[in-house]
Structure formats: C-alpha cells, structure tokens
Subunit: 241 residues, 2 copies
C-alpha cells in the first residue's frame, strides 16, 4: 500500500500535474489537494500529468485536517529542520519507518513557503531531503518525486509490521480530541493573551501528535478533558471512604 500524498495550497497547476505523473511512475494512487490556489480541475495540471491515472482520482479538501481525516500516521516534508520535538528523517529512513504504520500520508507545502508550523502540528514526523546550502529549495513536484521514487527503490528491503500493536487513531478522531480540548481550554481562559491562542494550540497539537494515541487512548483522553472541564476538583481527602 503506497502512502497518500497531500499538497497543501499548491499554486501551479503544472506542479500538481507533474506530481501526479511522478506518483503514477511509482504506483502511488491517492492524491489530495488542500485549497489549491487556482481551483480544481486545472487544465495546466492535465497538460503536465502525461495521462497519469492519479489525476482522475484527485480529492480536494478545504483544510489539511479534513484531508487527513482517515489517515493514521502523517509525515510532513521540510527542507530545513524546524527545531521541534519530532523525529526528522531522510526519505530513506522515512520509507523504513513507515513500514510499521498503516494509512500513511505525506504532506507537502505550497511553492512559496512550504508547510507552516500549523500544518506541521498535524504531522507525526518530518522528512527532510538533504540539499545544497547554495540552493536548498526543491521544486514541489521534485519533492513529491523524491518521496515516491525513494519509496519504490526501498521496497525490496521490507520491514515486518508487528500485528499485535494497536494502530494509532485516525486523524479525525485525534482532531475531535484537539477540538474538544481547545474548546475546553478556551472556556477555561487558558489561551491568554488571546493573540497567542493559535501558537499555543499548535504547540499542544505538536505534543499530542508525538504520543501517537490509539483509538482507545483518544477516547480515554476525551474523557479526561470532559472530566476536567465539567467537574470542579474535589479534594480526595474529603471524600468518605
């Protein structure tokens, strides 16, 4: 099963088409677009896709969160490490790492600025392609190519996936927890000052992504949030035994 490819706010139809062609070259099938600048469908993409079968099944979403709703393990791509507490790996290491996960997605930022810190807060780990200091920025379609090409090249050296481990929750389950938590924190006055709310919420998502919760753990954590938000704390020492 090849990973899902997600392009966040791609600008040039040509790059979307070339990405679709690169995916087709290496038997990738699932391409998702988040808010493409020029809408969808895009005739420039068709011209560049060289009849790639991937183009027929493109799905378009308004948000990255929506695009990832059914994915369980998400890698973000970045040319330069962001100094965050997430694993940063080469494409080769990504391929090995991804073998132990299900429903894997790889997320790519737009041509101008790549993935934002907010986008990366939806990712479990970061893939970084080592490049020249003189010209570090890789074309979007080339970056997609690098991932698909490397995936294909490494498929000979398969890693066994342990069946006994519960898979992580789907991203929409996790988002339900985030929404729940952020709402509860908003009510509680946690986000202060107000203009820092976005960054504070991102940092929370970052930290929880790393935990890689299972479905059951998400349920547990929603219960925890629910409990904390609804009930005032009761000093346990005061309860009768």
């Amino acid at each position: 099963m090849t990973p899902t490819i997600v392009l966040v706010m791609p600008q040039m139809g040509e790059n979307i088409g070339m990405a679709a062609r690169a995916m087709g070259n290496f038997d990738f099938t699932d391409l998702r677009l988040v808010a493409p600048r020029d809408g969808w469908p895009n005739p420039n993409a068709v011209g560049a896709a060289a009849d790639s079968p991937v183009l027929k099944n493109v799905q378009v979403f308004e948000t990255l969160h929506a695009a990832l709703h059914d994915q369980r393990y998400v890698y973000g791509t970045s040319v330069r490490q962001r100094h965050m507490q997430k694993a940063v790996m080469t494409p080769g290491s990504f391929v090995a790492d991804a073998q132990v996960h299900q429903d894997v997605a790889v997320v790519f930022g737009g041509e101008r600025a790549g993935l934002s810190n907010g986008d990366l807060s939806y990712c479990n780990a970061i893939i970084e392609i080592p490049t020249s200091d003189q010209l570090p920025s890789i074309n979007l379609a080339q970056t997609v190519f690098a991932i698909c090409y490397t995936w294909r090249g490494h498929m000979d050296a398969k890693v066994e996936r342990p069946d006994s481990i519960d898979p992580p929750a789907a991203k929409n389950e996790l988002q339900g927890l985030f929404d729940h938590l952020e709402s509860a924190l908003g009510v509680s006055g946690f986000f202060y000052p107000a203009h820092k709310k976005k960054v504070m919420a991102e940092n929370i998502r970052h930290s929880l992504q790393r935990a890689n919760f299972t479905t059951q753990e998400v349920r547990t954590w929603r219960g925890i949030v629910e409990a904390l938000a609804k009930k005032p704390h009761i000093k346990r020492g005061c309860q009768s035994p």
Copy 2:
C-alpha cells in the same frame, strides 16, 4: 566531483531550467546541452531554474560526441532496457559504479523519445530507473533529479578508487579511433549495403565502448587500423624465419 549532465536535444525550456535547479539542489555544476530545440539562452529555462547557479555555466554543443569530448566514462539513461550488450543498472548501482571512474557524464534524451540507439552507442553503460508498468515514462527534469538526488544520497557510502589503474581515454580520443576506423572500413567496402552503414557503425562503437580503452590502448588501436588499412595481408607462413 559530481558528474557532468548532458541533455540531448531537449525540447522544453522549463525542463532544462528544472534540471538546472535539481542539479543545484545537489551540488552538481556542469550542464551541457546538445542542440536544444528552442536555442540558447531560453527565457523559459531561466524562469524554472529558481536562480540555480548551474544555469550561468551551461555549455551548448551541436553533437553528443562534441559534448562528451573531455569525458572518460559515460552513462546513458533509459526507461526500458534496450537489449544491448552493456551493463544496465539502477541509479543506486550507478552511483557505486561511478566511483571508480573519472570525468563521468550522464546523458539524457529529449522529451519525446529519449536517447536513440546512436546516442547510446557513445555510452559505456545504461542507467534504468524502475517505474510502473502503467506509467513508465518519467519527465526529463525528474529523471535528472533522480540521478542527482541519488548521487547525493549515496555519497556517505564511498568506494575507494584504485589509483593504480590507468583512466580510460577521453571520448574525443576514442572518437578519433572511431572516425579512423569507419573511414578505413568505408574505403574497404565493409559497409554493404550502403544504407546499413549507420547501424553497422553504431554497433562497432557499442562494442568498443565496452572495452573502455585507455589512451595508450586507443593509440595502439589506431596503429592497428592504420596497419590493417595500409598493408595488404601477408601470409605469415610465407615469411622467411
């Protein structure tokens, strides 16, 4: 030292520019064009190159032979194996193989049809990128990307180059031998019927490329051609001891 990249009759300036960008991403420096369709310089290439320093030093040649004049070991790229008696390798194997050679060039065909059999007759070995049966054809700039990216990725696992082995001759020395040989064969009536001359000459070049002659061996072989062409055969048995 990164390999020289040679594009034979490239059509789209955008692809030349993206190839130059991919080269810059991985510290490749030497880009050569053989008879680019739209001439040179090409504004579409500039737009796609994202200020790659490679673009400033592009050299343009009329023939592949001229573009390879100072190169000593040449790889051709091909999506599908051509059933010829040359080594066919993946990009990863190419990188390992190339470490034992000097003045290495990688040659790429145009967008429409790739390298001709005539082009491949100038090559020592073939690089083939494994692709999907559904969509085997890779975009030109993506193919250049694959080579440069793989080169960079494999540089950690260096192979020692033996100093004691003489390097192969430069390609213009080899071409001098070919020209000499073909001329001599033309005079001899070897190319019969005449319309098969091109294919026959290519087959000869193919076979000699594999021999990977040193400069001294080229000299020796020119002497052999010279000797064969000039002198009638003398039955050795008739010579006095």
